[in-house]
Assembly symmetry: C2
Homo-oligomer: 248 residues x 2
């Protein structure tokens, strides 16, 4: 009635209301900590054997209480991702034989397209900004990582880790902490999706060629070419997923 005359002003859409009025469930500090550290470990950003900062320092850096951090570390310990040794010189370490990844949840599979969309945005933004801002040292690092990547065509787990490192390094070249975080999140989600999918060496080889072209475009500061190559690179993954999952 009274609101009827206003309806003209607001577009009657489907996605917008859900973006404004949709669920607001925020993760707890405990959950987010498990997520952050767990993702970093699963992605190999924290290598097996690596030592985490001391609890008293880490909780300060994370901005949480030590008891909350310990909950998270206990959870990561029970799932076999980290272990702790006591006494001076002790600490919390990333387990050396990492536990096997658990299969993607149904919810994860249902939302695979959203996951890919999110990654697309992050990667395109990173591609443009890296092309604008990458320093000489960044480019050298990226080349090294690409070389490492090309030596791991046979072992998909190793390949995936090196791949993640390359993409995260590209994000670091943008000098944007937020983009680095967004990239790790996106890669974590993607890893959950694709870890259970067979990747023949030929696919990885083609992927490597794209990496090389991407880095060349970044080195020449050709943002648009970087975007195009990146776009093609990501569509490879999407096509594979679209063929295997519903909603493709």
């Amino acid at each position: 009635m009274a609101s009827g005359s206003r309806d003209r002003a607001t577009a009657a859409t489907v996605t917008l209301p859900s973006a404004v009025f949709g669920p607001v469930r925020s993760q707890t500090a405990f959950e987010e900590t498990v997520d952050r550290l767990g993702t970093a470990i699963k992605l190999g950003l924290l290598a097996p054997g690596a030592q985490l900062p001391a609890e008293r320092e880490l909780c300060a850096r994370l901005g949480i209480a030590r008891s909350t951090l310990r909950q998270a570390l206990t959870a990561l310990g029970q799932s076999g991702h980290v272990f702790a040794t006591r006494g001076r010189g002790g600490g919390t370490f990333v387990s050396d034989p990492q536990p096997p990844a658990d299969p993607p949840s149904q919810q994860m599979l249902d939302r695979w397209r959203e996951t890919c969309d999110q990654r697309l945005a992050v990667e395109l933004g990173v591609a443009v900004l890296a092309a604008e801002r990458a320093a000489r040292a960044d480019l050298d690092t990226l080349d090294e990582l690409a070389a490492t990547l090309e030596a791991t065509l046979e072992d998909f787990v190793a390949y995936r880790q090196a791949d993640v490192r390359l993409h995260v390094a590209l994000a670091e070249a943008t000098r944007s902490a937020q983009l680095v975080r967004a990239m790790t999140e996106a890669q974590g989600a993607m890893t959950d999706l694709i870890s259970y999918i067979a990747h023949p060496p030929q696919v990885l080889a083609s992927s490597n060629a794209q990496h090389r072209r991407l880095l060349a475009a970044v080195r020449e500061r050709d943002a648009m070419r970087a975007v195009r190559v990146m776009s093609e690179h990501l569509q490879g993954t999407e096509h594979i997923l679209a063929g295997l999952l519903p909603g493709g």
Copy 2:
């Protein structure tokens, strides 16, 4: 010592540790609700005079308790963004003369580049996916919004609102709820930044020309051209900010 031999494996960078070990401050449900509704109002997505869903329904949609929602509504009421009328046929409404926007905080100004980077990623992703997925109806809606936009060259506040609607509508055309939300967040942050900056009509006119070219590219499903135009479009804003703020 023991960890020294592993250092080779982990890149000694600056941004990555802060992405993994950085603060984990999670907003409370109350804060996030104020933020979401407040942003939607400030962006004009909830127009002055518009009625919000009833409390009992809204708290269900937001997935929070009614008392928590009421805290948020009380806060928005005290800041003059909404008002409530009681009794049957009553409800919570967006105030008609909206309170004046408060000036951007120092923290906001310090992080302006991160804000722009975030927006860049979202907008580029949206540009690509909209070009791929926009339906006929979406394109018509976008054209209407562009036409509306071109009629508001004189009043910057009105122009900004119409601009936001266009960009959000483009995000809606991607059919990705997450991207729509990311877009509203990014636009909210941008509005805070640029609301206190003079925008002469000639700048807005040039911006409009870019909008038209953008929509043309989307209509022709030319994702790369859409990216290029969008990129130029965003750089306009960045140049203005870079000239006015430190760190440019």
